[in-house]
Symmetry: C4
Subunit: 322 residues, 4 copies
């Protein structure tokens, strides 16, 4: 809590951040999602299962599919067993366990529509359930097809942001910098970035977050092929003007980054967000280059592992509060 900071900041704060001024904790989580918990509304209505399925990791998603497959087959095996194994031909009736095993596999052969026919329904009830199960199987795989497509066709920016932001010397003064780079074989163009800062101030002895838009040297890049170092010069128009190293440490600051670009494979706009809080901002440092010409001098090599590499750099003295 940095008392009295309100006086230092001359820039007008913005009110359309979408965050309340008494929201708690970090605003944007490191994964880019807002740090908000929702309550109320029926729980089934509060989740979009499609959004949820798209947000699962590949491993989780496949695991859920396998588990669902086993459960569905257990369920139908149980029903066929209740109806009676005498309504299925070719069942191994040596003992109940074998019966259940055969009935389980009959279910899976029906659900996947393999239908070898070694085991086949003969009675009305068994046939009816099998008819329904095969139908359900096809619908399930229709849904799975949609989910797979939804998952991998989902437009994403595939950008790597540096874990840290730095306060670097810049054109005789200082600047807040962070960088980002595309890390996959996608082609991004027309990238633009919006950077804002949430700074906690004491107003009428109540802590309160004010939002400020940070001007950047460039806010549009034609082709996002190499890394992009976003630079916010700390001049008189910056809310950080006059901040000392201690001020950066002791104030609740959150730098919120919103990047938008056009992906040429998806032919769609993609967005990615990131945020830096006080402890992720390094004072007096500058990034070291992360790309270089290849050996034959015919192409450029971008080394993504160097995205966080920086070196110490002395900042010019700043006069606080003229």
């Amino acid at each position: 809590m940095a008392k009295g900071f309100r006086q230092k900041i001359r820039q007008k704060n913005t009110e359309n951040s979408g965050f309340g001024d008494n929201a708690s904790g970090r605003f944007i989580n490191k994964d880019g999602l807002p740090n908000v918990t929702r309550k109320g509304v029926n729980i089934f209505n509060r989740f979009s299962w499609y959004h949820t399925m798209l947000d699962l990791s590949t491993f989780q998603f496949l695991s859920y599919l396998v588990i669902a497959y086993v459960l569905v087959n257990l369920f139908f095996a149980f029903i066929y067993y209740l109806i009676g194994v005498e309504h299925l031909t070719g069942i191994d009736k040596s003992d109940p366990v074998n019966e259940f095993i055969d009935v389980f596999f009959f279910s899976s052969q029906t659900f996947t529509t393999v239908g070898y026919g070694r085991i086949a329904p003969v009675g009305f009830m068994a046939s009816l359930v099998a008819t329904f199960e095969a139908f359900l199987g096809l619908l399930t795989f229709a849904i799975a097809t949609g989910l797979f497509y939804g998952r991998f066709s989902r437009p994403r920016a595939y950008l790597k942001f540096s874990d840290i932001a730095v306060i670097s010397p810049f054109k005789g003064g200082s600047a807040l910098m962070f960088r980002l780079a595309p890390f996959k074989n996608n082609a991004l163009t027309d990238a633009d970035v919006i950077v804002s800062a949430a700074i906690e101030v004491i107003e009428n002895s109540v802590p309160k977050s004010n939002f400020y838009t940070l001007k950047t040297q460039l806010n549009k890049i034609n082709t996002l092929a190499l890394n992009w170092t976003v630079v916010h010069k700390i001049d008189e128009e910056s809310p950080f003007y006059g901040f000392s190293e201690e001020d950066f440490k002791n104030t609740d600051i959150e730098i919120i980054v919103h990047l938008r670009a056009f992906d040429e494979v998806f032919s769609n706009t993609v967005v990615q967000r990131c945020s830096y809080i006080s402890k992720e901002i390094i004072y007096g440092a500058k990034f070291t280059p992360m790309y270089y010409p290849d050996k034959e001098n015919l192409s450029t090599v971008l080394d993504l592992d160097k995205i966080n590499d920086y070196q110490k750099a002395d900042l010019p003295m700043m006069m606080e509060e003229k």
Copy 2:
């Protein structure tokens, strides 16, 4: 019907609402669709069955699929029965009902391509029909796959609007307010809102709806994570300037809200509309907060069940017609 209101409203009305000035009833239904009935054109051409399938509830959609499945199988069972059960192997020929039942299940095993083979076609006609039915089955599930994907990948805003709008005290005057909040686990950014009002006036003794654009305090929000209270200050530029509680009650008013945002999962623009008519506007009330810090003060909790909560609030006296 408020006679003479035309004189009170100084703001110029807009003409590009897309609604005629002698259209009847509510303009926008509470579900956001225009209140218009279409006639003429061949009925098959007047409906996009794809739009219709996407607008069905999940329950209706699944019911239709099951019904279609049963009907198709009955239809094909009937055809196989006409061709003759002697062209199918493995049929239970004990009586006509059993024959039909077996033929029905053969149909379903063909349509779903399970094809156990316990019952299989042997003659030319039965084989031909089965060949066609299996083909039709696959195409049907191809279409179902598309419909499922279309249904759940359909970009939607998932916004909850307050059921009511309120006339609240605001900065020494009054303002029309309503609020909205995202209720699912989707992430909306770059939201903007366009608010207009349809007000019925008497012109040359004919009632007529005029449309006005309402200015809002903010019309853009960066991140739609919490609720958003949209505020239209009733000042001299507002068509509601000088309206008394009775005027709000007795005039045919419709507030039409059009919200647009960018959904980061769908990477698509989503829109949602809402409208408030006279009886849904509460005079002299203000919304109570619907979000608060969580217990550990690390996150913000948004309580969606409180979206309609308001309390009485006295409005300042307004001078009518200076």
Copy 3:
């Protein structure tokens, strides 16, 4: 050919129409596509088969699928027949025709993956071909699924344009008008229209098409729920200023309309084009209303069959060539 018209038109023509000034015939066909034939490039590269499949009518599309299904099965039946029917179990070997019929149905049962098993491959070659055919069958239905989805999820405006444009009396002068209306259960918002005119003039005794942008009274509509009559006032800024009935008849004119809107179901921008040539422009006529309140006065009825209804209307005298 109207000689000397160049002098009459004062408006500057535009050069970014994308059409050359010596292109021939109508520019935009009545279905909205440019009237251009392409030549050169390998014929396989000159067509996007996906665009072609999407442009087929439903009947054509389904017919092609059925024909392809029959041809593929004939092809594979022929191959199995060459390999020898002794490599398939359950074949009716009474005569070559029956053999071929059974082999054909085996092919279809494999391609659709029904696989009853009454006929099944036993030798290496027959099994290998069946293995490949089943694989091909699944890929084919994967492609069909994509085509079905592509066809019905393809964003389209579903707008009906009036077949004719009229020159109507308007605010003491005259105006060129045409109208359009959505005819399906889709919801269009934010519609905007761009109208241009191609007028043939004689320059240095060579006929040449000049393009002009036509100003419209409104070029944006918020909600496209009812019909929209697009109005281009023929004033001094219009290229048609001073045109007499004969001028409209005798000059090669083409009005090109380009409409863009946002479809809320597809959440996508949709476009539709239309064009009117000289003989589709009626001089001295005005459209009659095509919507009216319903009986209970609770909704508006839009009668799409009336879109071309007009009545004669006298135009004010215009001074030609001041």
Copy 4:
């Protein structure tokens, strides 16, 4: 390397190209992708397999599918063989090779869900593996469906650029020109083009690429139906002002073209890039027409094979360095 060129260029260079000033080799490859190699990050994370699958040629894509199909079946055949052929009915046990062949075909019949049933699993292990294989098969075809749809629904501009750019006489001076034309049956509208130039200059005796935006006569075309010749007039605002034929030859120049249009079938924005380096620029040449009226004068014919046709054309003398 053209020493001293820095002085000749008066236009201010831009800094938002997204390319570093010491990147090596061509910036944009002839296929439109940036000439950058990425390093670092786990190799599995550095590639989007979906982007990769979409970029494959149709032949490569289908080959990979067939290879995967064979490998999967070999893998499962091996497992069934290990479990023991006695757990499968109907296997030809005459010798191990025949056993393996039958087991391989059983695997393929399971993976594709054909399931003739001539060979069918009877033991627990064989049934379990078959249950899993059928499930995997369906998921694989679900993924294949998505890939097929992703591949052919991927919005693409289908534009052919001329292989060369020319320096042509233009309005008493000279201009850099290149042209492009849509070569498929797609309909592009609202096309706009951004042209920039990378010119290598020597600054402080270090070679360095500066980027310049090139103004074009038209940068927007309503309907991209015919070819479009993009014209950059070389006037005092052009970085090429005063360049002689030798200057064009001896300087490292790269003209980077970024075209955006709206495809009416995909209802999506499509982009295509192209670049021209020094040796692809022909000095003193002009393009010859590539479209003409058809025989009946009712349509326009666009001959795509003529896109590179040009003829020599003398350029007016230019004064270098006034």
